[in-house]
């Protein structure tokens, strides 16, 4: 995957104020941190119980949750990375972003409502609903924590490099600042603060990107056709059509499946469905999220092409090989350094919000799945659970900073793809089968999750993405760049075969009574 947020800055690049301390961006960023910390302070007073910490008391409205989901999903990698891909590779960037979007309708059709009705705080609640708690919780935690960790590494390393470029701040300091601020959100404000950070960030990002597109389109008399014309005359018609991104159909299919179904297996996204009062609100939040995310990808498409037409490919590439600075250069080109400062601080806020969501979801896996259901065997008082959740938050905050420092300068772009692959292979198949298949058993689920996680990990290491590009071998052992088509299919097959081999009578019986809850919301967590 080429969402490479590792910037190779060329100091002799074109004249730009990028990389110097921009007073506007520093001011806006401080304002953002102040406001969000105030919200955290407000949220802290309302965050006492488990349901408040993990699920904001289930009081978030469908619309708010939709915005927060969009906030969780629209990372700096999508904003800068996809705009940059369009600005350097043209149309191919759009193919990528469409993959990220089409997972959302599937979340709606397959998991959103049953998830809300069956679960409490984590997606493992659903898988373990009628199966044996301990083995399921352990296996699901492995899948969750792997997904979260790889996603987190990619975000932290991206954050460090990005902030260094945007603000001229030292990489290490940037990573520590991100780690400390996001830990405060989660630790004190729990899900309520995290949700509002996501909402503010989503509104900032969507409005900032909209203004950017309007400013750029104004130079083309607000006519997209004129913009495309300018791209076509400068770079040729091929820039506006699919290029080299997809050549091997199997590779394309595998990546497509990872993006599409991985979205429905991301623990921090799934967790958000517990913040709304019922399945109807869960449904609404997916619709709202799909709308905003789709709109956002249309914006990044126009940002990329506008940057290409107005800033120029050479200028973009000379500053960063992956084109990640395209959106920022366009902001400077169309709105001057003050607007650049605004967009830069929005990108920073974006990273903060995403890592906060990931950390909260990791902490809930550790405290709710592992501590309560594995160590305490389901018997734990709320006080004890909250204590562990808070400790887990601090632990994950430190871990995130440590990983950010450890992986400095490493090529971690593939980790986003790996996170999606594990989510699609380990988390999604088990979640789906536990919802729809009566014959699914504990053993089947455990083997399904283990197969998906292990195959994703092993296959990506021996794939061209790591084996050739990172380890420098001349030929990959596994031919596909993304393993999902093999790892996810195997996870499904193993899950089905193991379940069929030895039916679990109890689980099948419980499936019937579970239906009242799945379809009617009868007995769901309030």
């Amino acid at each position: 995957m080429s969402l490479n947020l590792l910037l190779q800055i060329n100091p002799s690049g074109p004249a730009s104020t990028l990389g110097t301390a921009n007073p506007v961006s520093i001011a806006i960023f401080f304002l953002f941190v102040l406001v969000t910390l105030y919200i955290t302070y407000w949220a802290a007073k309302k965050t006492k119980t488990g349901s408040e910490f993990y699920a904001a008391g289930r009081n978030i409205s469908g619309f708010q949750n939709g915005l927060a989901l969009a906030g969780d999903y629209m990372s700096a990698a999508s904003f800068l990375g996809i705009a940059g891909m369009v600005a350097t590779k043209g149309y191919d960037g759009l193919i990528y972003s469409i993959g990220f979007l089409v997972g959302w309708p599937l979340i709606m059709f397959l998991v959103a409502e049953p998830l809300r009705n069956l679960g409490k705080y984590t997606f493992a609640d659903v898988v373990a609903f009628r199966l044996k708690q301990r083995p399921i919780r352990i296996a699901a935690s492995v899948g969750s924590l792997l997904t979260i960790s790889f996603y987190l590494i990619a975000q932290m390393v991206g954050a460090g490099s990005l902030i260094k470029t945007l603000f001229g701040l030292n990489y290490e300091i940037a990573v520590v600042v991100v780690g400390v601020v996001m830990t405060m959100y989660v630790l004190f404000g729990g899900m309520l603060a995290t949700t509002w950070v996501q909402i503010i960030k989503a509104v900032l990002l969507l409005s900032g990107a909209t203004i950017l597109v309007l400013l750029a389109l104004a130079k083309f008399n607000f006519s997209p056709a004129e913009l495309f014309m300018s791209v076509k005359t400068q770079y040729g018609a091929d820039m506006l059509a699919p290029g080299g991104f997809i050549t091997n159909p199997l590779d394309a299919l595998s990546l497509g499946l990872a993006l599409m179904l991985g979205t429905a297996g991301l623990p921090h996204i799934l967790m958000r469905f517990y913040t709304v009062p019922d399945d109807k609100a869960a449904r609404k939040s997916v619709f709202v999220a799909t709308g905003f995310i789709g709109y956002f990808y249309i914006l990044t498409f126009f940002i990329g092409f506008s940057a290409l037409a107005l800033v120029g490919k050479d200028a973009i590439v000379s500053l960063d090989k992956g084109g990640n600075m395209a959106a920022l250069l366009l902001a400077e080109n169309t709105g001057g350094s003050a607007f650049l400062g605004f967009i830069a601080s929005v990108a920073f806020a974006t990273i903060l919000a995403v890592v906060a969501g990931l950390t909260l979801s990791g902490a809930s896996t550790i405290s709710h799945d592992l501590y309560v259901h594995v160590i305490k065997k389901g018997v734990s008082d709320e006080k004890g659970e909250m204590k562990v959740a808070k400790r887990a938050t601090i632990f994950l905050g430190i871990l995130a900073v440590a990983l950010g420092l450890l992986f400095k300068g490493q090529n971690v772009a593939f980790m986003v793809g790996l996170a999606f692959s594990i989510a699609a292979s380990a988390n999604f198949p088990a979640l789906l089968m536990s919802i729809i298949w009566k014959g699914f058993t504990t053993k089947g689920a455990v083997w399904c999750m283990v197969t998906g996680a292990v195959l994703s990990l092993v296959l990506i290491v021996i794939s061209p993405t790591v084996w050739v590009d990172i380890l420098g071998n001349s030929e990959a052992i596994f031919p596909l760049k993304n393993p999902t088509i093999v790892s996810m299919t195997s996870a499904f097959i193993v899950g089905i075969l193991v379940s069929l081999a030895k039916p679990e009578k109890e689980a099948a019986e419980l499936f019937e009574s579970e239906k009242l809850r799945t379809y009617l919301g009868h007995g769901s967590e309030k």
Partner: protein
């Protein structure tokens, strides 16, 4: 909860139809979405020239199809919400009255 009552509802034709319709719709919508997106990827993989077909001076089929898929995602998601809000929920409401 009264288990005889629960059993009766679970066995009722009404409830069975509710569950069946729900998955008929969900799974068909899922396959349509998969078909559209995977179809798009396969057309790109096998026949890029088709997508290069110009539509007007600067816009081509690829741009229209690409943005079209985003609109389609909205449409199909909205359609599901419309169905669920107007049909599914009222059926659920009817069955729940008996609980």
């Amino acid at each position: 909860m009264d288990s005889a009552k629960t059993h009766e509802i679970l066995q009722s034709a009404e409830f069975k139809k509710l569950v069946k319709t729900r998955w008929n719709i969900s799974l068909s919508f899922t396959f349509v979405m998969l078909f559209v997106y995977i179809g798009f990827l396969l057309v790109i993989a096998y026949n890029k020239d088709f997508l290069k077909m110009p539509l007007g001076d600067s816009i081509n089929l690829a741009i229209v199809v690409g943005l079209g898929i985003i609109f389609f995602s909205w449409l199909i998601t909205g359609l599901y919400v419309y169905w669920a809000n107007n049909y599914y929920d009222s059926d659920v409401h009817e069955i729940k009255k008996k609980l």
